[in-house]
């Protein structure tokens, strides 16, 4: 066994080797528990500060698993705040568009109007109500920023702050291109599959040579036929890998040209040969990003339902396109990443169809699928804790 294989084996000994139950990957009851135990009480990445560039800007984010949308604002004071996007009069959804700039937010039903800090500014004929404006602010949601990334936490009293939650990754993320990003390319797809099945696809390389035989050329070969990572690391609920690259794989002619342009700008931005260029950061529960300056790629894997997931992929860029060459380099980086993702989507759906038939009771993870096992172990421990807490409180499990 090679050195990387030996390291993976050592980790697996800690995390277990047994088969993993299949039902958590498709059943509604387990999904409901995940929402309660994880997604309603964990920091979730929902955007980037470059989407709120100035005071008065805002964005709206759907969180279908919680049956809510969030209104995230940057107030005149420059502070970023998040609220449930719901009028406190009679609960009507407040903002319907996806974002932009407004001086205030007015409910279409009875014209209650709110400031960027959530306070009720005005309401017609308010003296006939039996309450005070100061008690009618928008319901706040915890929000914080690390490396330019905006995270929210639906727990009214989060158990830990964002930086504590991210642990040592917080400091590392701050050194990546994303922390200085001012804009991004984006593509989106929805997949008829459970979110864990979707996320797992992006944290194992075992599938690369089969699903990406053409687009994944530099990811496999030369004594590493499956393209397994150089190293794994674990950081509380989070996990990472150091990506292996086949340096002997010859790029195609236009690819070499476009990559060359990209590399030149990475040098100019001070990221060339950066220590974290090959790092993959898996931020629990449903976000990951690469440390690469030429493919500064992130993906949010958002559960919509037990069998439906929305993936938002972004390549975060520093500055507007400076010249034609930079625009071409960025276009190619985005188009290549999209080509690869298109190939993943169909097989993820096939996985969900197979599992949701109930035909198999267990799935198997090999040692180089250890990040998938770590995600399951982490989720399942939180679900079990939640069930124990409810049982102790006298609720049904």
């Amino acid at each position: 066994m090679d050195e990387v294989g030996a390291k993976a084996e050592a980790i697996v000994e800690r995390l277990g080797t047994g088969p993993v139950p299949a039902y958590p990957y498709y059943r509604q009851d387990y999904f409901d528990l995940e929402v309660a135990a994880v997604f309603r009480r964990t920091w979730l990445q929902v955007g980037h500060v470059c989407e709120l560039p100035e005071p008065g800007t805002y964005m709206v984010r759907p969180l279908e698993f919680a049956k809510t949308t969030l209104l995230i604002t940057r107030g005149p004071d420059g502070v970023i705040r998040a609220f449930h996007n719901v009028c406190t009069h009679r609960g009507t959804q407040l903002v319907f568009d996806e974002g932009g700039r407004k001086t205030s937010f007015t409910c279409l039903y009875h014209a209650w109007t709110f400031n960027h800090d959530g306070q009720l500014r005005s309401a017609p004929d308010f003296e006939r109500f039996y309450t005070e404006k100061s008690k009618c602010g928008l319901p706040p949601v915890a929000v914080d920023v690390c490396a330019g990334l905006i995270f929210v936490n639906l727990d009214p009293r989060p158990k830990q702050g964002l930086r504590d939650f991210l642990g040592r990754y917080a400091e590392e993320l701050e050194t990546l291109p994303v922390a200085r990003a001012t804009n991004f390319s984006e593509y989106v797809y929805e997949v008829d599959a459970n979110w864990k099945l979707t996320y797992d696809n992006f944290q194992e390389n075992y599938h690369l040579r089969f699903i990406h035989p053409r687009s994944g050329g530099a990811a496999v070969g030369e004594g590493n036929q499956f393209g397994y990572p150089v190293a794994y690391n674990f950081n509380g609920p989070h996990r990472g890998q150091t990506i292996w690259v086949n340096t002997k794989a010859a790029p195609t002619p236009f690819q070499a040209f476009a990559f060359g342009k990209q590399a030149g700008f990475a040098v100019a931005d001070g990221f060339a040969g950066g220590a974290r260029n090959k790092e993959y950061y898996g931020i629990f529960p449903n976000f990951f990003l690469l440390g690469s300056a030429t493919q500064p790629f992130s993906q949010c894997v958002m559960p919509v339902a037990a069998d439906r997931t929305r993936c938002v992929i972004r390549l975060y860029w520093i500055g507007e396109d400076r010249c034609a060459s930079q625009r071409v380099g960025r276009e190619y980086a985005m188009a290549l990443a999209r080509d690869i993702h298109c190939e993943d989507r169909a097989v993820i759906e096939a996985g969900h169809r197979g599992l949701s038939s109930g035909a198999i009771e267990h799935i198997h993870f090999q040692s180089q699928e250890v990040l998938c096992r770590h995600l399951f172990n982490t989720i399942d421990a939180m679900v079990e804790d939640y069930k124990s807490g409810r049982a102790a409180a006298g609720g049904a499990t």
Binding site: F254, A324, S325
Partner: protein, 119 residues
Amino acid sequence: MNAQAAAGRLPPGFEALEPFVEHWALAGSANRAQARDTSTESDRVAFYRAGLTLAPAALDYLDRKPLSELDEQDRRLLSLTLSLCHAALAVETQGVDEPKHAKMRGHVRITRGSDKRDA
């Protein structure tokens, strides 16, 4: 469009790309990706071959000006070079699998390009 009517849509020196202006010279990443999806194999390959030869000269030429100062001819040349990213993936990478791959791409929507000035 005949060659005479098409002439002059690109800066001097890039006449070989004139036949591809109509289909490929588009603003916006999503539109350029769609041009790949709706192209024929022979058109893609012809565009790729002509584009690959001229791409270094095209960017050398375009990089002499700030993006905001590109004129209409320059902008067409830039759009063509950007579309070449998509055509190159089809020709260099996907090859005979391109028709199968095109079906997969239909589910993955480009919602934002790298710069809002290109739309």
